[in-house]
């Protein structure tokens, strides 16, 4: 049981990294990876939203969508839940921890449109996880997202001073770097047989 959960965690962080292997959540991956500090904040916020929304959508799937045969509403319901979760977390943070709220700033509402969050909720439903597995899967997905974001941010901070050919300055070189990073993660292929 515990070993199974650990394997899910390793699998989502390294082997099936949401960004570098499933290619989900590329917009924040490119958009919020200019500084290591902001990348970390974005990563934590996303991990929090992913975990909470995965558990809530799991509950809705098991106790509402499946019993009432409303599977066709899955996407709509999930998006609604994610948006609500983001808004709720933002309100709670603003009241209880203004400092953290200020650090996360605009990134918190932006998570609503992160396709990795929706993709994760749908994958949880497809894989038929129980609630604990869903929570670990979501946390792993968030940590993997954070890892990819921070690694790319580290390289990008360094690239600011690099003498990159004119045509590749800005986003093109970031996409190439992301591709190379994704190739490096190929080494984890087969690490966890799933």
């Amino acid at each position: 049981m515990l070993q199974g959960l650990f394997l899910i965690l390793v699998s989502t962080v390294l082997v099936n990294n949401f960004v570098l292997s499933r290619f989900l959540g590329i917009c924040p991956f490119i958009g919020v990876s200019e500084r290591i500090e902001t990348a970390l904040s974005m990563g934590w916020a996303t991990t929090l939203v992913m975990t909470v929304s995965a558990v809530v959508t799991w509950g809705l799937e098991q106790y509402v969508l499946i019993p009432f045969d409303l599977g066709f509403l899955q996407y709509v319901v999930y998006i609604l839940v994610i948006a609500t979760m983001v808004q709720t977390i933002e309100t709670i943070l603003a009241k209880t921890s203004p400092a953290l709220h200020r650090t996360l700033g605009i990134f918190l509402p932006l998570i609503t449109t992160n396709c990795a969050v929706l993709g994760l909720a749908i994958l949880v439903a497809q894989k038929g996880y129980n609630v604990l597995e869903a929570a670990v899967f979501a946390t792993g997905g968030g940590l993997g997202f954070t890892l990819a974001l921070v690694l790319l941010a580290g390289i990008r901070e360094r690239l600011e001073w690099a003498d990159i050919p004119e045509a590749f300055k800005g986003k093109p070189i970031v996409l190439i770097t992301a591709g190379l990073l994704s190739m490096a993660f190929l080494g984890f292929t087969g690490l966890v047989a799933q």
């Binding site: 003498d163 080494g187 984890f188």
Partner: protein, 310 residues
Amino acid sequence: MNGKLEVRAAPHLLDPDSTAKIMYSVLLALIPSALAGVILFGVHALWLMLVSVAAACFTEAGCQLLLRQPVTITDGSAAITGLLLAFNLPPSFPLRYAAFGAFMAIVLGKQLFGGLGENPFNPALIGRVVLAAAFPQEMTTWQALGGVMADAATTATPLGLIKLGQVPALSELLLGNVLGCIGETSVVAILIGGIYLLWRKIIDWRIPVGMLGSVAVLSVLLGADPLVQLSTGGLMLGAFFMATDPVTSPVTKPGRWIFAIGAGAVVVLIRFFGGLPEGVSYSILLMNAVKPILNKATKPRIFGEVRGRA
């Protein structure tokens, strides 16, 4: 200016080492492994090295001409990339694919990022993983087309044999009388070059010691023979010649320790738990990606600086 007092602007270079001189020392250190490769795997290995080096130099010159930059192929860095890429190829690898790999190594791994000194990843390893992703069949076919290994009874590498439960003799591993990539099998040849570079202080001892040490310690903990683990696969070649690349490894001493130990840990993770038999190239690339963060996290504090007031 023939007086005793010579006025010059800083930096005052006292060290005769230049980029080109360091690069040629590294090339010199790679010669034993190149010779071992040709003796073990025949003339095709020599062709692979020549094609790969030529393609790397040609691509570098082409990129620099297109970008209207001074052509710097005489500094030897492109040649090292080409030679290291060839060292990481199986002995029967097709020559045209090797040329393609060298092209990708220079373009994707180096020139797009602004050339020597700016690349985040080791270019030779980028070439290798591109080839591994593009030609998985050819990159895992182990067959010597000539040389000492031509009559080898097996077509598996030592790490492949270990996964099947057969452990090759240590003496064979040290000499390199086993199948594998051209430049990685002969531990003795790599050590000759590696010790020369350590003696010249071109590479930092912390990186090979940390990387080999962590692999040895972790394999003991996992119940494997550490000497066999150290002398198989691309570990020696990687620890001495690829992880030590001055551009893609951290500059601080603590950063180098973390870099090296982390690389060794990823090698063990992939070898013992992964789907691939060998993970040295991936482990070094992954630590290359962590390098900027290590540099930043282990930056020495400026004397008198007060923490928290950036």
